[in-house]
Structures are given as C-alpha cells and as structure tokens.
C-alpha cells in the first residue's frame, strides 16, 4: 500500500479538563476525498486546526508524506502544500475578491501580475469570475464560502482541508458547489472535508471518518458508515437528524 499523504498517530488535545481530541489516529490516502463527520462539538474543527498548525496537539504526532510535521507553524505547512479553509469565514475584508485570492496565489508566485492572473483563473473556476473587483466584505454567504475555497486553492495545495464549505448554503447553492469540489479532486488535490450536509458527503467522499466526543468511532465507505448504529446514535442522540434534513434534505 502507498504511503498515506497525511497520517495522525494518537493525537490528543486537552482544553482544560476536557479531552477535545482523544487519541485520534487516521490516515488520508492520496488523491481521495475523505470526509470527517460527527455531531457538533465532536472536535472536528479542533482536529483541523491541529493538522494545519494553528493549535499544537497535547500528545501524538502528525506526519505528512512521512515527515513529522507536529508543531510546525501554519505558514510552513501552507508552503508544504497543506491548505485550509475556515468554518467561520476569514476574508481579507477590506480587499477585493481578486486581491484576496491573489494573496493565496502569491505563495508560489513572487510577481504581482502573475499572482493576479492566477487568482483570476481560480476565481473563474469557482464561479467568482463576475465579482472579481467587489470588496470581499460585500459578498453573500455563498460567495464568501467560495472565496475561502478559492484562496486556499490558489496556493496550489496537494492537500486541501475544507471546514464546512457547504454549511449555511441553500440546496441550490450546495448543488452548485459540489461539482467544484469534485473538479478540484479531479485535478489531483487530496481533499479532507468536514461536512454536515450528508447528501454531499455520500456523493463526494470515498472514505468517511466519524468523530464523536473527540474519538473516531468508526470509518469506512460513506454508505456503510451512515448505516452504522453508533453513528446514527451519535447524531440522533444530539437531535441532529432534523437539522440535517432541513439543511440537505437527505434521508439518513
């Protein structure tokens, strides 16, 4: 078997007395779309923050292509090809859409003109081509989600961590976003996505990890995982089914 692109070994994160992430070990295979699902408060975003270097794990190690990257700062991880989006969108609010994406593109391009060209290219791919010169602060939620995605993609990542890029979108917007994600994976970008919209998880992901209360409770192909009793319990116990139905219109 090929070496995994990303490998977590017994990663823990203690927040005071709480184990927000509890001995999580997982491997992400190259070229796949992997989903990380779980009820609210399961520690998904915390895990992303650890992988992307924004938080240091209390215990455990993280390997990227076999290199130990535990505790490496975010900008170095970005330079290694690990890009992330933020669940709570973090645009450069005072800048235009074009400038926002260009800052991502600058990672591998020194020239301003080249970065702006590359940014325009990425923008058209994610459907922001029409709003290039708009200030980021003036965008709708759906457009801001795309901007998050575009800025991360502009860094030319090999591993893309998407933190709920579909949350808060209406079904039409979700449907419009899914081919974009599929297209990125088609270009060879390995994607790990945190997602609540089950319809998207089932149709996009090839492998799913389920996180509940900081622990991986199961993993596997999306269809198997969704039918798993422990998963259903983890979700339904927290009353998530209703919200899922409202957001995605899926039948779990």
């Amino acid at each position: 078997m090929a070496e995994p692109l990303l490998c977590l070994q017994h990663v823990c994160k203690r927040c005071g007395g709480l184990l927000a992430v509890d001995h999580v070990s997982l491997a992400v295979e190259v070229g796949r779309i992997t989903a990380l699902i779980g009820p609210n408060g399961a520690g998904k975003t915390t895990l992303f923050s650890i992988i992307s270097g924004f938080l240091a794990p209390s215990e455990g190690r993280i390997f990227h292509r076999g290199t130990d990257i535990t505790g490496m700062p975010p900008h170095l991880l970005a330079r290694r090809g690990i890009a992330r989006t933020f669940q709570i969108m973090q645009p450069f609010a005072g800048l235009t859409v074009h400038e926002n994406i260009a800052i991502g593109a600058h990672l591998s391009r020194r020239s301003r003109a080249e970065a702006l060209d590359a940014a325009a290219d990425v923008a058209s791919k994610v459907g922001l081509g029409q709003v290039l010169e708009r200030p980021a602060a003036s965008l709708t939620v759906a457009a801001r989600k795309r901007l998050e995605l575009a800025r991360a993609v502009a860094t030319n990542p090999e591993l893309l961590l998407l933190d709920e890029v579909l949350a808060g979108l209406n079904p039409g917007e979700v449907a419009a976003m899914m081919p974009i994600i599929r297209h990125l994976a088609g270009r060879g970008i390995t994607i790990v996505m945190i997602e609540h919209v089950m319809q998207a998880v089932i149709s996009l992901a090839e492998h799913v990890f389920v996180l509940a209360e900081g622990r991986i409770i199961t993993q596997g192909a999306p269809q198997e995982v969704v039918g798993n009793a422990r998963v259903v319990e983890a979700y339904l116990g927290h009353g998530a089914a209703a919200r899922l139905a409202a957001a995605g219109g899926t039948h779990v």
């Binding site: 900008h75 933020f86 450069f92 005072g94 260009a102 800052i103 600058h106 970065a115 860094t155």
Partner: protein
C-alpha cells in the same frame, strides 16, 4: 489598477521642486521644509500602520535615534555628517527591528502594541535625558560648519532639495511595497492575520520587516532634523510631539496610501499656521487644532483626504455612467 502611479509621483515631486524657483521667501521655504519633514516621518509610520495595521504610538523612538546617532557621531567621534546621517538611518532601523522582535514575538497586537511602542519611546527619552553621551538635559548642539560636506548650507533651498529628495525616495519605496508580494502580504496581515498564516504568510517576519523599513524612514527624518536645526535634546528627539505628528499626517491624508502622509502633512501644517496667525501664536494652540482635525477626520473621513477624494471621484463617475451600466452592480 488603483494606487499611485509612477507618473503621479514624478508630477507631485516636480511641482514641489518648482517652488524655490517661484519664491525665495524664507517663511514659505521653512514651512515647506518642516511639512516635508513631517511627511517623511509620517510615511515611515504609514508603512507599518497604514499597510501593516500595526499602530505605533512611539515613532519618536526611531526619529530620536536617527537624530541622536547623527549628532553624536559628528560631535563626539568626528564622523562626517553625511556618514553620520546614513548611520543614523541604520541605527533607527536597528531600534525598529529590536522593538519589533520583542513586541511581535510576544504576540502583541492592537492597543497593546501601541502602548509598548509608546513605552519604548518614553524609556529612550528618559535615558537620553540623563545619559552623558546624549548631552543629558542640555542636549547636543551641532557645531556650525556651513559646508555641503558637513551637511550644512547657507540658505534653506539646499535643505529643501534634500528633504524633498528624501520624501521622493520614501514615496517610491512605498509604491514599490504596494506593487510587491511583500506589500500584498503586509496588507493581508493587516486585514486578517490568521487567514494570512493559512495561505503561507510568515506574519512575524512580514511585520518585523515592515517595522524595520518604517523605522528607517522615520530615522531619516530625525537625522535631517538634527542637521536642519543643529540642536536636539531628549524632548525634541524622543518627545511625544513627533510620535503624534507621525501618525496625524497619514491619518488626515489617508492611511495606507502612497500620498496620504504628504497630503496630510501639508494640510495639518497649513491649519497649524493659520491657527497661529489668527490667534497671535498662543502656545499649544496648534495642538488643539490638530486634536480637532483628528476627531473630524476619524468621525467623518476615516480614509482621510485621499479616501474622500476617491469616493467623490467614484460618485462622479457613477453620475456620468449610463443607467443600464448601473444595473450591473
């Protein structure tokens, strides 16, 4: 593309360069020399605060270091004035880098950063007011030596050319920053540090570089001050007056723009002079005027005069554009 073009800079500098050809009035020239000096010092502040979002209240630390290094090297060690001036810029940059390294490594942001810079400037002021090498409370007088080699001149015109050259260089530096990847990263740090880190920006290093460049520009102002007035003491070199001038000019003119500090310096100095004329030079009145201007700008034109001009231009353009085009927005 927005921002100042090279042609704008050449045009503005050429217009200012023509002033001594039109008037020989010492009052006018002295006014302009001081205004340009403030523009230079303010441009330094603008690099760090306007582009990088790191608001310093203590740019006196760099101004004073530039001034003291220039004066001390000449008077205590017999160094040539021009070399002393150059080393003054380097000294200011070094102080900027040191304060930056301490402040940014401790993760200080926003008002905490502002307070720490203020504290450093005050510490330096107090040290300069007691240390023998700075002349302690007496200050340092640079001996009169009216030769160009000694960076001293008979009239005000040569000083005017020199400070104008320094301002021109500072405008070019800021334009260069605006057009570069470093500038894009610096603005990214100002807008959202976490997002910047996520796309590979080494925020600590970008801020440190900005602070060093910022300090160097402001230190050049300090060195020039020493040569122009030939006297400095701790209150002049490291006093809060210059920290205030450094931030007032760019805020009034337009923060984070190439021409903001120059525009602001001219406007602020003009208002100060008018206030003095009207009231017969009541002491401290210019400060009252500056305070009033600052409140008005922050309340009604947070992007300064440059921002006001841009929004007026946009409004004008919108008025002229045809209705179907408007439907796009």
């Amino acid at each position: 593309m927005k921002g100042a073009s090279l042609a704008h800079i050449v045009l503005v500098i050429a217009a200012l360069a023509a002033v001594p050809l039109l008037t020989a009035s010492n009052v006018v020239l002295n006014f302009l020399v001081v205004a340009l000096l403030v523009a230079l010092v303010g441009q330094g502040w603008n690099v760090l605060a306007g582009y990088g979002g790191q608001y310093s209240f203590g740019h006196a630390a760099f101004f004073g270091t530039g001034a003291y290094v220039t004066a001390i090297l000449q008077m205590r060690y017999g160094v040539n004035a021009w070399i002393a001036f150059t080393l003054g810029i380097a000294g200011g940059a070094l102080v900027g880098a040191a304060i930056g390294a301490l402040a940014f490594r401790s993760g200080l942001r926003g008002s905490y950063f502002a307070l720490v810079t203020l504290a450093f400037a005050e510490v330096l002021r107090i040290l300069a007011s007691v240390a023998p090498v700075t002349g302690a409370g007496v200050g340092i007088l640079i001996a009169l030596d009216l030769r160009p080699q000694a960076f001293q001149f008979q009239g005000r015109v040569p000083f005017y050319w020199i400070v104008l050259t320094l301002v021109a260089v500072s405008l070019l530096i800021v334009r260069l920053i605006e057009q570069s990847r470093f500038g894009a990263w610096l603005v990214a740090v100002r807008e959202n540090e976490d997002a910047a880190r996520a796309v590979g920006v080494d925020t600590a290093r970008v801020k440190l570089a900005a602070m060093t460049i910022s300090a160097a520009i402001t230190a050049a102002g300090g060195g020039f001050y020493a040569q122009y007035f030939l006297f400095i003491d701790s209150g002049i070199a490291y006093g809060p007056w210059i920290s205030i001038a450094a931030l007032l000019a760019p805020i009034v003119g337009g923060i984070g723009t190439v021409f903001g500090p120059l525009l602001g310096a001219l406007v602020v100095k003009t208002l100060g002079e008018i206030a003095k004329l009207v009231t017969g030079d009541a002491p401290g009145l210019d400060l009252v005027v500056y305070g009033g201007v600052l409140i008005l700008v922050v309340a009604f034109a947070p992007q300064g005069i440059a921002g006001l001009l841009t929004s007026l231009r946009l409004r004008f353009a919108r008025l002229r554009s045809s209705p179907p085009e408007r439907a796009h927005g």
